[in-house]
Amino acid sequence: MEWVNVVVQGTLLGGLYALFAAGLSLIFGVMRLVNIAHGDLIVLGAYLGLSVTTVLGLHPLLALILVVPVMAGFGYVLQRGILNQTLGKDILPPLLVTFGLSVIIQNTLLETYSADPQKMNAGALETASVSAAGLSVGLLPLLTFGTAIAVIATLQWIFYRTALGRAFRATSDNPEIAQLMGLNRRHIFGLAMALALGVTAIAGIMLGIRTSFDPSIGGGRLIFGFEAVIIGGLGNLWGTLAGGVILGVAQTIGAKIDPGWQLLAGHLAFLVILALRPNGLFPRIDG
């Protein structure tokens, strides 16, 4: 039973990692951009949530109503203003520019909020739990996991059932010919980044309710996100959820064996999968 519990907790933790990863996966899928600042953007989302909750006295989940559109708007401006200029045949410029962005975000957060760890107060939600079949599961992890499923299902729906998703896929397939369909590539990429940062805002707030955070933790969240994306297979959103769950379960199993092994176990699981299936478990099958 103890081990069942470990796997259940790990699975739920995987939901958070999938939320970290979904934005990365989306951006890479649409414009082949590897966003090194993604982890710091998650932390930025958490801090914006903190500001909204302290200034307006809102519950962190209600803060989403404000933080998601603000982050999405920031994403559009960021893409149109800076990142579009870095995209081209060479993959190095976007890496360097987003690395620089990561440094800027970290230091701005440091200046604004100091290096002290902060936490959002979600009241009773933090400790509430449900019990079933001898297992006790926290309501917050359960909610996070449910959110991850909802977010990925929504992204999947947008990608495969809407005009915007068609535009995303066409632009990703062949950006030049997509322009002939009247699609302005710069605008489409802006919308993709807006969507990705909207999801990132959700990830940031879920993170900020679950644990304490400070401006320096972005790098670690980026790594978890990357690992989840690569385990699941690039460009496959449900695969990303599976990747997050595998990473989460590996970490909780590691922590169960020895509390110091949590991170190591996650990285080892990632390395093993990378060695055996370099394209991830569920790579996108295309033409």
Partner: protein, 235 residues
């Protein structure tokens, strides 16, 4: 001649340091079908790309409906009613056949072409509409590429090597469908290797040689020797 629909004035085109077109002048009248012929590397595809703004031009080099459109983005040119059926079809592999057609119509221009009209023209596409576009045969893919361009209800449609790599019987089918496509008052530019086919469907032609117009004239009356000379550059 009344104001042409499209006119190119001294169009130059470059790929880096390489100049592909030298001062090309060309006019297309409303409802006219023009053929562009020439050997490989003569600049035919570059000409299509320049008109579509896939290569950078100076504004005044491409004039369309009295507006200098040479410096516009490709999506802005498309929105004004110029559609390209690109060489090698270039369908979107992650979109189904029907999605490839729908995205062609996303520009939202009004006109006779819609999904049912395309399916009437190419019934096989209706049968295959949920398949991935890359799973079709070459000829069917070409039908999708033509349909995708028509869905935009363009005033000027550019066909770049639509018979390249297709079986002769398929080429015959596609050329049989062309008059029905262009008959609706649309103008067309047809780039084609097969000179006989190109001359048969067009009223006028331009022959390109090493990036320059080496001959232009009426398709029906031109002498074969004249074309050979303009085509290969032998005196």
């Amino acid at each position: 001649m009344p104001d042409p629909l499209l006119s190119l004035c001294g169009l130059d085109a470059f790929y880096g340091d390489f100049q592909a077109l030298y001062g090309v002048d060309l006019q297309v009248a409303q409802g006219e079908v023009l053929a562009i012929i020439g050997a490989n590397g003569a600049g035919k595809t570059t000409l299509m790309r320049s008109i579509s703004s896939l290569t950078r031009n100076r504004a005044e080099m491409v004039r369309y409906r009295g507006e200098d459109i040479g410096a516009l983005r490709a999506d802005e040119v498309a929105a004004r009613g110029i559609a390209l059926v690109p060489e090698g079809r270039q369908l979107f592999p992650s979109l189904s056949v029907e999605e490839n057609l729908i995205i062609g119509g996303q520009i939202g221009r009004k006109g006779p072409w819609s999904l049912p009209a395309i399916y009437t023209l190419f019934p096989i596409l209706q049968e295959r509409r949920h398949q991935q576009s890359t799973s079709l045969s070459g000829g069917q893919q070409q039908m999708v590429a033509i349909g995708r361009a028509l869905m935009a209800n363009p005033d000027l449609i550019l066909f770049d090597e639509i018979s390249l790599g297709l079986a002769p019987i398929i080429i015959k089918d596609i050329y049989a469908a062309l008059p029905g496509i262009i008959g609706e008052g649309m103008s067309a530019l047809i780039v084609e290797q097969d000179i006989t086919k190109a001359l048969a469907v067009s009223s006028r032609f331009y022959c390109l040689q090493e990036g320059r117009v080496s001959l232009e004239g009426a398709s029906a009356t031109v002498a074969r020797e004249e074309i050979s000379r303009a085509y290969f550059g032998v005196a």
